[in-house]
C-alpha cells in the first residue's frame, strides 16, 4: 500500500464520517447543515485569498509544531512540549528583534530565526537531559516545561518585555525589519509557510534518504535493536530528535509573531502545540503528510470562523466539530489497521 497516500485517504474518510455526525447534531441544534458546511467550505476555500490568507495562515503554526512532534515521535521521543518550545521561541525572537541594534532584514531575519530555534531547542534540552541522564520520562517533563514557558511569557510581557507605555500586557510591535515578508502579494500568507514546507521536505529527505534518518527511525522502532544490530548508541539520536524538534517548535512561535501578530502577548497560542500531536499522528508521522493534515486542520479552523459569521453557529460548536474530527480519525485509522493486518505467520 502506498504509505503516503494512506494517511491522506484516512483523513478524508474521517472527515466524511465526522461531517455526517456533525450534520445530524447541527440539524438537532436548529441549524441547516447544508448552510453550515457551505459556510465552512467558503471560509476555508471560498476564494484564493481565503485559502491563502486564512487557511494557510492558520495552518502554518500547526504545520511547524506538527513537524516538530512528528520528528520527535518518530524517534520515540514523546515530546508533548511543543507548546512550551513555541513560547520560548517566540520570546527569544521578539527579544532579539526588539533589542538588536541592527535594521537590515538580511541580518535581523536570520538572527531572530536562529534565536527562536535555539530557544526552542534549549527548552527541549531540559527534558532531554533529564531523560538521557536520569531516566525521567519526557511526557511529564515536556508537559511541565509548557507551563513554565507560558508563565515566563506572562511575566515577560508584563515586565521586562512590556511595551514602553506599560499599559497593556504585550510587547511593543517588532520593527519592520523583523517581520516576515508576504509570500504572495496582497495576501496575508507570509514566508513562514514556505519555510514550513521546506522543513517538511528536508525532514522527509532526512528520514528516508540519509543514514542519520535511518538511525533515528531505528531508535524509534527499537532502541535495543539499534544498539545491538545497528551498533550505535540511542542516546545521541534521542538528543538530536529532542533538540531538532524543539528548534522547529521554537520557530513556529516566532514565525507566528513575525508573520502575523507582530507582537508578543499572553495567550499567543490557543494550544497549537497540543493540536500538533493530532496533526502529526493523523499524518502517521510522515513529514510530507503533515503538510496535508496541517492544512486540513487550518481549513477546519478557518472554516469554523465562517461557520460563526455566516451561519451563526456558536464557537463552542465549532470546537466540538474539531474534536469530532480527531475522534473520527482515530477510529477510522484503527479500523483500517485491523482490515489491513488480518494475516499472520507460521
Amino acid at each position: 500500500m502506498n504509505r503516503t497516500l494512506t494517511p491522506v485517504l484516512t483523513a478524508t474518510a474521517a472527515l466524511a464520517a465526522t461531517l455526517a455526525v456533525a450534520a445530524a447534531l447541527l440539524a438537532l441544534g436548529g441549524h441547516s447543515p447544508g448552510a453550515v458546511f457551505a459556510a465552512l467550505l467558503r471560509g476555508a476555500f471560498g476564494t484564493w485569498d481565503r485559502f491563502f490568507s486564512f487557511t494557510l495562515v492558520r495552518a502554518t503554526p500547526l504545520l511547524l509544531t506538527g513537524l516538530a512532534v512528528a520528528l520527535a515521535f518518530k524517534a520515540r521521543v514523546w515530546n508533548i512540549g511543543a507548546e512550551g518550545q513555541l513560547h520560548a521561541g517566540a520570546l527569544a525572537g521578539v527579544a532579539v528583534a526588539i533589542l538588536l541594534p541592527v535594521h537590515s532584514p538580511l541580518l535581523v531575519l536570520p538572527a531572530t530565526l536562529a534565536a527562536a530555534a535555539a530557544a526552542g531547542a534549549l527548552w527541549a534540552a531540559v527534558p532531554a537531559a533529564m531523560k538521557t541522564r536520569m531516566g525521567v520520562g519526557e511526557v511529564i517533563t515536556t508537559l511541565l516545561m509548557n507551563f513554565v514557558a507560558v508563565f515566563l511569557a506572562q511575566f515577560l510581557v508584563q515586565g521586562p518585555l512590556q511595551e514602553p507605555r506599560g499599559v497593556f500586557n504585550q510587547t511593543d510591535e517588532i520593527p519592520l525589519a523583523a517581520r516576515l515578508p508576504a509570500l504572495l502579494p496582497d495576501t496575508r500568507l507570509h514566508l513562514g509557510f514556505l519555510l514550513g514546507i521546506v522543513i517538511a521536505v528536508a525532514l522527509w529527505l532526512y528520514l528516508t534518504r540519509t543514514p542519520g534518518g535511518f538511525r533515528l527511525r531505528a531508535v524509534g522502532a527499537s532502541p535495543r535493536a539499534a544498539e545491538v544490530s545497528g551498533r550505535f548508541r540511542a542516546g545521541p539520536v534521542v538528543w538530536l530528535a529532542f533538540l531538532t524538534s524543539g528548534a522547529i517548535a521554537g520557530l513556529a512561535g516566532w514565525i507566528q509573531v513575525a508573520g502575523v501578530t507582530h507582537r508578543m502577548y499572553e495567550g499567543l497560542s490557543p494550544g497549537w502545540g497540543y493540536t500538533a500531536i493530532a496533526v502529526a499522528l493523523l499524518a502517521r508521522l510522515n513529514p510530507l503528510a503533515v503538510v496535508v493534515t496541517a492544512i486540513v486542520f487550518g481549513a477546519l479552523s478557518a472554516g469554523g470562523g465562517a461557520m460563526q459569521r455566516e451561519a451563526g453557529v456558536p464557537e463552542v460548536w465549532v470546537r466540538g466539530i474539531e474534536a469530532l474530527v480527531i475522534l473520527a480519525v482515530l477510529t477510522v485509522d484503527r479500523s483500517w489497521q485491523v482490515l489491513a493486518g488480518g494475516g499472520s505467520r507460521d
Partner: protein
C-alpha cells in the same frame, strides 16, 4: 478411545498462501505427539488452530470428542487446551508467581471463600511436576530455561487435556531438555495429550510416542516413533534425501603451526550490574580462522560476554582489545536482531549505515542496500516476496537467516554467534553451520562477495575469528576448534582431549550443582 483433540480436513490460508491444506490430525490422551516440518510447513498454524488463536477456513476441530468452533484462546483454555509459545508470553516486570496468577486469573481473584494461598497452590503443583521454578523474581531477569518452566507451570495450573509446545527445546541446554522431557512424560502419564512442535529429530524421537510430519501445509506422515528413523523423517520433511548436519567439520581442525595474532583479546574482564558480577575475570583470545565454542547453561553470563565482544558493553575491570567491526548474531532476534516493522532492506541496512561505500554525498545509497539485501536473500535462501517485505511477517527461520546473513556481511574480523541455528529447520541449519565453518577456513568473508563490483575493498586480510555461543552441545562439538564453558560468569577452557558430550556436560552441570545459575 476418544481423542484428546482431532482436526478433520482443516485448511487455513493466508492471502494466496495455503498454510494448511486439508490436514487430518489426531492427538490421543496421554500421548506425546511430535509435530515436525520445515519452516513454513504449517506446524505453528496447526498448533494455533488447536489453541483457538486462528480459525480454520475449512474443516472441523474436536476437543475431547466434541466438535467445537473456537473463537479465542480463552475458549480453548476453558476446554482444557494450553499452549506454550516459542516466544514466551510472560509480563517481564511481573514475578513468576504473578505471571502464573495473571494467566489463571479466575482461580486467583478470590471467587469462593476458601481464598487459597495461591503461592502454596503453585508450589504444590510445581513439586508434583518436579518443576524447579523461581517464583519471586521478575521474569525479565531469568534465563530462557527458567522462563520456560514458568510457562509450562502456568499452562498446567488448571485441568489440561491438551498441551501444545512450540519449539520448546530450541533454547535449552541438554540437561534442561532432559528435565523438560521428564516433566512432559509425567504430564502425559496423567492423561494429557501433548503436541510437541520441534526441529531436532533425535530429541523428538527420544520422547515422542508418535510423530507427524508436515510439508508445505500437507500432512505427509504419521507414524509411531519406534518405527521411523531420523533420516527417514528428514527425508519426509524435505521431500528428498538430505545429509545430516555437521560432521563435515570435525573438531580439532584448527589452524596449525604458529598461532597467528588474535583478532580479539579479553584480559581479566569483569562486568557488574548493580552489585552482581555478570562476568568474572574472563581471559579470552580469539584467533583468525578458528571457531571458539562457548557452551553453558543459559544465563551464566553468555549474553554479557557477547555484548563485550561486540563492543557495546564496556568492562568494569580488565581490558578488551577488539577489532573495528564485529559481526554479532544476537540470541533474541525479535527484540535485538531485527526490527519487525522494518523491511528486509532496512534490517540489512543495520550493517551498512555507517559505511562510506553505501553513501552518496549526504544520502544513504538505498539502491545499493537493496541490491545487497537481494543477494543476501538469494545466498541465505530467505523466502520472502521481495526485499521490501517487512521482517515481522517472515517465519522465524527466515528471520534468523536475514540476521545471520547480515552479520556475515558486516565486513567482520570477528563473528559472535549466539545460538545461530535456534529455530532453524534441518536445511537451514546445515546451511548456516556450513557457512560458519566456511567463514573460518577461508578469508572470503561474506562481505567480500558484495564488495567485488560496487564497493572499494575493505577486505579482511585473514579469515575471521568466530565465537560460537550456544546451549546446543551438538552444535558446539560439531563446529568448534576450541571449547570453553561459561559457569556463573567464569570462562573455563576445555582441553582438547575432553571435547566430548559427557565431559562438557559435566562442566555445565557443575555450575548447577554449585547452587544454580542465579
Amino acid at each position: 478411545m476418544t481423542a484428546a483433540a482431532r482436526l478433520r480436513g482443516v485448511t487455513r490460508r493466508f492471502g494466496a498462501v495455503t498454510a494448511l491444506g486439508e490436514v487430518d490430525f489426531e492427538l490421543a490422551p496421554g500421548e506425546i505427539h511430535g509435530l515436525l516440518g520445515e519452516n513454513g510447513a504449517g506446524k505453528t498454524t496447526l498448533a494455533r488452530i488447536l489453541a483457538g488463536l486462528l480459525a480454520p477456513d475449512a474443516g472441523g476441530v474436536e476437543i475431547g470428542g466434541r466438535s467445537v468452533a473456537l473463537r479465542s484462546a480463552r475458549e480453548a483454555r476453558a476446554l482444557g487446551v494450553a499452549m506454550v509459545h516459542q516466544h514466551f508470553s510472560l509480563v517481564p516486570r511481573f514475578t513468576g508467581l504473578e505471571n502464573i496468577a495473571l494467566f489463571n486469573a479466575g482461580a486467583w481473584t478470590g471467587r469462593g471463600t476458601e481464598a487459597p494461598d495461591y503461592r502454596a497452590l503453585v508450589r504444590a503443583r510445581a513439586r508434583e511436576l518436579k518443576l524447579e521454578v523461581e517464583l519471586d523474581a521478575p521474569v525479565a531477569g531469568l534465563g530462557v530455561g527458567e522462563r520456560q518452566r514458568i510457562e509450562v507451570l502456568k499452562a498446567l495450573m488448571s485441568e489440561t487435556g491438551v498441551l501444545l509446545l512450540d519449539e520448546p527445546t530450541a533454547v535449552l541446554a541438554p540437561r534442561e531438555v532432559e528435565g523438560l522431557f521428564a516433566v512432559l512424560r509425567r504430564v502425559a502419564e496423567a492423561g494429557t495429550g501433548i503436541v510437541l512442535v520441534a526441529h531436532k529429530l533425535d530429541e523428538v524421537l527420544a520422547v515422542a510416542d508418535r510423530v507427524t510430519v508436515l510439508r508445505r501445509g500437507r500432512r505427509v506422515l504419521t507414524e509411531e516413533a519406534g518405527k521411523v528413523t531420523a533420516a527417514g523423517l528428514a527425508e519426509a520433511m524435505v521431500g528428498e534425501p538430505v545429509g545430516r548436519p555437521g560432521r563435515e567439520h570435525p573438531p580439532g581442525r584448527g589452524p596449525r603451526g604458529l598461532e597467528p595474532e588474535p583478532v580479539a583479546t579479553l584480559e581479566g574482564v569483569t562486568v557488574r550490574s548493580g552489585g552482581t558480577p555478570l562476568l568474572r575475570d574472563v581471559d579470552l583470545a580469539v584467533r583468525p580462522g578458528e571457531i571458539l565454542g562457548i557452551a553453558g547453561v543459559d544465563g551464566n553470563g553468555q549474553r554479557t560476554l557477547a555484548a563485550v565482544l561486540a563492543g557495546i558493553r564496556t568492562p568494569d575491570k580488565g581490558t578488551a582489545t577488539l577489532p573495528r567491526e564485529v559481526g554479532w548474531i544476537p540470541q533474541d532476534r525479535g527484540e535485538e536482531g531485527l526490527v519487525n516493522d522494518f523491511t528486509i532492506i532496512e534490517n540489512v541496512a543495520f550493517a551498512l549505515h555507517g559505511k562510506a561505500a553505501y553513501r552518496r554525498g549526504p544520502w544513504f545509497d538505498w539502491a545499493g542496500v537493496e541490491e545487497t539485501a537481494g543477494s543476501l536473500m538469494r545466498e541465505m535462501d530467505v523466502r520472502a516476496e521481495s526485499p521490501e517485505t517487512t521482517a515481522g511477517t517472515l517465519s522465524g527461520g527466515n528471520q534468523q537467516r536475514v540476521v545471520a546473513g547480515r552479520e556475515f556481511l558486516r565486513s567482520a574480523e570477528m563473528l559472535v554467534a549466539e545460538s545461530p541455528t535456534r529455530g532453524l529447520d534441518v536445511k537451514a541449519t546445515v546451511a548456516v553451520r556450513a557457512r560458519i565453518a566456511g567463514l573460518a577456513t577461508t578469508p572470503s568473508a561474506g562481505a567480500r562477495e558484495h564488495q567485488t563490483t560496487r564497493r572499494p575493498p575493505a577486505a579482511p586480510k585473514r579469515p575471521p575469528g568466530i565465537v560460537l555461543i550456544s546451549a546446543d552441545l551438538d552444535e558446539i562439538l560439531e563446529l568448534s576448534h576450541r571449547i570453553a564453558v561459561m559457569v556463573r560468569g567464569r570462562l573455563i577452557p576445555v582441553p582438547r582431549d575432553r571435547h566430548t558430550r559427557t565431559a562438557i556436560g559435566e562442566l555445565m552441570l557443575g555450575a548447577q550443582q554449585g547452587g544454580g545459575p542465579r
